[in-house]
């Protein structure tokens, strides 16, 4: 056994794990893991979670909890005899566990009884566990914490977690699988090209693997194009990069920021105060504002502030009106901190067609608050990583430590409360993608973050200015009802969300088109599209824009938009081959690495590698396709401070190969 020490306790000699495993005492805090039982505590978990403020205790639930309690608090070898003794007819009763537990529980030591009473409370979500872990990491100053708690699924429970094994495919299997997939893709590309006649499938695929393909080519002898971008670098350099990625990017407001690195939308989000302050982006001229000689000291009027701001952020009349009102609110809040009569909460919806300059308002608010040296009182949030990145904010999951459909931690850590206590303005962008239930959850989480009880009547924890913006004519939420729908009466949270939405009585709808400002014909067409009134002449105009069949259109130089993931994969591949051919490059296929539970046997290599990315549930490809300098997009929120979120587009300038990936093969 590795690192065995005299402080370890052996298992009971009768225990099945005796001699193979040992129980180790935790000696330092850093060895302590938060135990996380992931999955349902009882078979009624789902129904229970729909019950507001906890669940009713039914005999069946009691029995389930008793079963778990017995398993945890009674030595494993004593249980059968206890059942025989106290409940001889246990096989026939459906409350046998409750019955036995009610007899045994009073005999336990007081501290165990205390633990047991808390038992049904322990169903923390994985996020909450992550938050606990990161909090503990801060206390001990350790960064070596394991971020991913051991997860046991229902099936593994209550046995020890089963070891996953790496799925090793032989080179031949991998090659055959890829050959199969390439044949399939070739067929699908041809079908796609047939549909869209102007597309050209400019690659062919041989029906059989050539013999020469089977002979592995050593990477070292393989003649790379000098510009292939494939490199092998010493491991220490790459590890240095990894460390650097985990160091926070220096920002203008570092005092409250933490070492925050990991995927902030993933269930393990523990960086809930990452970027609680908006940052002025370097590409904006606004960054100069932070050192501006105009920084305001005295009590300025909102007009003075706005005049200064509009020099940097041009505003039309209505935009200016809104920003002025908001800044007036922020100023009066500061001037009369104890005067309740001056402290009306402002709940504002800003709407308007696409391109009417909603984000310009956000920029102006941040700029104005920066001039007032109060930029840390602004919090910007959005439903998705990409939407959040557009306004340089965060997802509300991150900012509020929540995940959809879960209640979340009932109490926010002091640190979070401190950060939220001084917020004056909260902006939620792309509100059309927020559903009724989520709005209620945001309200609830704000109360927690601002240390109010859940029953407090103050919306959003009494935050002075709450602004939601977005255009409801764009995509509604993927799940749940948009704010403009009637809530379903049996869904308490939706009804609550609807009530909150009705409280947004300040409304501004921007109506000056800024995006298509110079193309009036297009503006009119968009206006008709918005109202569902496109005409036959619009149809003719649109059809005149179909890319020509004969002229080989450069689908690799103009971005294309489709409605289906399957079409996206095919078009990406068609465009990539065209791109590679034009530039005389190859396309490199990098297979993912997979691990499985030993029970997973009946999956073919083709099935696994053929599975390309699909929505948030599968954020990576079975075969990652790369050709140098191709446009590329991230599929997960990787690092918000480096502006790499789900949907960020960029260029793939190279690939660092694994040091031991020696073979490259043509398929």
């Amino acid at each position: 056994m590795r690192d065995a020490s005299s402080a370890d306790c052996s298992y009971d000699t009768a225990h099945p794990r005796h001699a193979t495993e040992t129980q180790r005492l935790v000696k330092t805090l850093s060895q302590l893991y938060t135990v996380c039982v992931h999955g349902s505590l009882s078979q009624f978990q789902q129904e229970e979670e729909t019950v507001r403020r906890g669940h009713s205790i039914t005999p069946a639930i009691q029995n389930d909890v008793a079963e778990v309690s017995l398993a945890f608090f009674i030595p494993w070898d004593k249980i059968p005899s206890l059942f025989t003794l106290h409940c001889p007819d246990h096989a026939l009763r459906n409350d046998a566990n409750s019955h036995v537990w009610s007899i045994i529980e009073p005999t336990l030591a007081p501290h165990l009884r205390q633990y047991a009473r808390n038992f049904s409370l322990i169903h923390k979500s994985k996020e909450e566990v992550s938050i606990d872990i990161s909090l503990r990491a801060m206390e001990t100053g350790s960064t070596e914490y394991r971020e991913d708690p051991v997860i046991m699924s229902d099936d593994d429970f209550p046995e020890s977690p089963v070891q996953e094994e790496t799925w090793n495919f032989s080179t031949e299997t991998l090659l055959m699988a890829c050959h199969h997939i390439m044949s399939l893709w070739h067929k699908e590309d041809l079908m796609m090209a047939q549909r869209f006649r102007h597309l050209d499938v400019n690659w062919s695929h041989s029906a059989h693997l050539q013999e020469q393909n089977l002979s592995s080519l050593e990477l070292s002898t393989f003649s790379f194009y000098p510009s292939s971008g494939l490199r092998i670098l010493p491991e220490n350099i790459i590890q240095q990069w990894e460390r650097q990625l985990k160091t926070p990017v220096p920002s203008s407001s570092t005092d409250d920021s933490l070492d925050v690195t990991n995927d902030f939308m993933a269930p393990s989000s523990d960086d809930i105060d990452d970027g609680l302050q908006p940052l002025l982006q370097s590409e904006d001229d606004l960054s100069t504002l932070q050192d501006s000689p105009y920084l305001l000291h005295e009590d300025p009027s909102e007009a003075t502030v706005i005049d200064l701001v509009s020099q940097q952020v041009p505003l039309n009349t209505k935009q200016r009106l809104v920003v002025e009102k908001i800044i007036r609110g922020a100023l009066s809040w500061k001037c009369h901190p104890y005067d309740n009569s001056k402290r009306d909460q402002m709940l504002l919806y800003i709407g308007g067609e696409a391109g009417t300059g909603k984000s310009q308002i956000i920029k102006a608010i941040v700029a104005a608050m920066t001039l007032l040296r109060r930029q840390d009182e602004v919090i910007l949030m959005a439903p998705t990583g990409a939407a959040a990145d557009n306004i340089n904010g965060n997802t509300y999951h991150t900012s509020l430590g929540m995940s959809i459909g879960k209640k979340g931690n009932p109490k926010a850590p002091q640190r979070i409360q401190r950060l939220w206590a001084n917020k004056t303005i909260m902006v939620i962008d792309e509100i059309s993608m927020v559903d009724l239930q989520t709005l209620s959850t945001i309200n609830h989480r704000c109360k927690i973050a601002r240390a109010l009880s859940a029953d407090s009547p103050e919306l959003f924890g009494g935050l002075p200015i709450v602004i939601v913006m977005g255009d409801f004519f764009q995509f509604p939420p993927v799940k749940g009802l948009p704010l403009w729908q009637e809530p379903r009466q049996n869904k308490e949270e939706e009804v609550a969300g609807h009530q909150i939405w009705l409280r947004f009585t300040d409304v501004i709808i921007l109506d000056e088109q800024m995006r298509q400002a110079t193309d009036l014909e297009f503006q009119d067409l968009l206006h008709r599209a918005r109202n569902g009134r496109l005409t036959t002449s619009d149809l003719d105009l649109l059809n005149s824009k179909v890319i020509p069949a004969l002229d080989p259109f450069q689908i690799d130089s103009v971005v294309s938009v489709v409605k289906l993931n399957t079409h996206r994969h095919r078009l990406n591949h068609l465009a990539m081959t065209q791109f590679a051919r034009r530039r005389k490059q190859r396309i490199y296929l990098f297979p993912a690495r997979h691990t499985r539970l030993p029970s997973v046997q009946h999956l073919h290599a083709e099935d696994i590698f053929e599975q390309q990315d699909e929505g948030v549930s599968i954020p990576s490809q079975g075969l990652f396709l790369y050709t140098p300098e191709m446009p590329i997009m991230t599929l997960a929120n990787i690092n918000s401070s480096l502006r790499l979120v789900n949907g960020t587009r960029g260029t793939a300038t190279g690939v660092i190969m694994e040091p031991n990936s020696k073979t490259c093969l043509c398929v």
Binding site: W484, D506, G532, V561, A575
Partner: protein, 156 residues
């Protein structure tokens, strides 16, 4: 014979990512050009044919082509759109079809930059917003009038 695809035996150690245009970040590291960020593989549980397995791979894909959902919030000077309602698309009601049409079209800055992947029929482009949304918009417009009046009164 296909001479363009090359299979490697392992996932990348990392992929080098460069932001588009002026979008710069301050990442600098040894042996990397300024602004280039290495993206490392991530581990995710995924389900394939009802089997749950873990995949380690860089969370990236080619971006020649995007879905309509992904382009919300972006602006393009030029793009090829697909406004056709494919019969294989399921689970999209009339309102979502409308949204796809409107979101796609409104990403563009001018008609000059607009291209279509395939021809459309009148039935593809005649979807309108949900009735309930139209009611909601008139409620919001009434509120806007009140808001503007209230704000004006506040100032005077």
């Amino acid at each position: 014979m296909d001479d363009i695809h090359v299979l490697c035996s392992k996932p990348p150690r990392c992929v080098l990512f460069g932001h588009i245009g002026s979008r710069k970040t301050s990442f600098e590291a040894e042996d990397l050009d300024e602004g280039i960020i290495p993206v490392f593989p991530i581990v995710r549980s995924i389900t394939i044919k009802n089997h749950s397995i873990r995949r380690t791979q860089v969370p990236m894909c080619a971006a020649f082509c995007l879905t309509d959902y992904k382009v919300q919030g972006q602006t393009f000077n030029e793009a090829i759109l697909d406004l056709r309602n494919d019969p294989t698309i399921r689970g999209r009601d009339s309102h979502r079809k409308f949204c796809s049409l409107y979101v796609q079209l409104s990403r563009l800055t001018s008609l000059n930059g607009l291209h279509l992947l395939q021809r459309v029929e009148m039935s593809d482009i005649s979807h309108g917003p949900h009735e309930r949304l139209i009611c909601e918009m008139s409620r919001l417009q009434t509120l806007e009038k009140q808001t503007l009046a209230n704000w004006a009164a506040e100032l005077s």
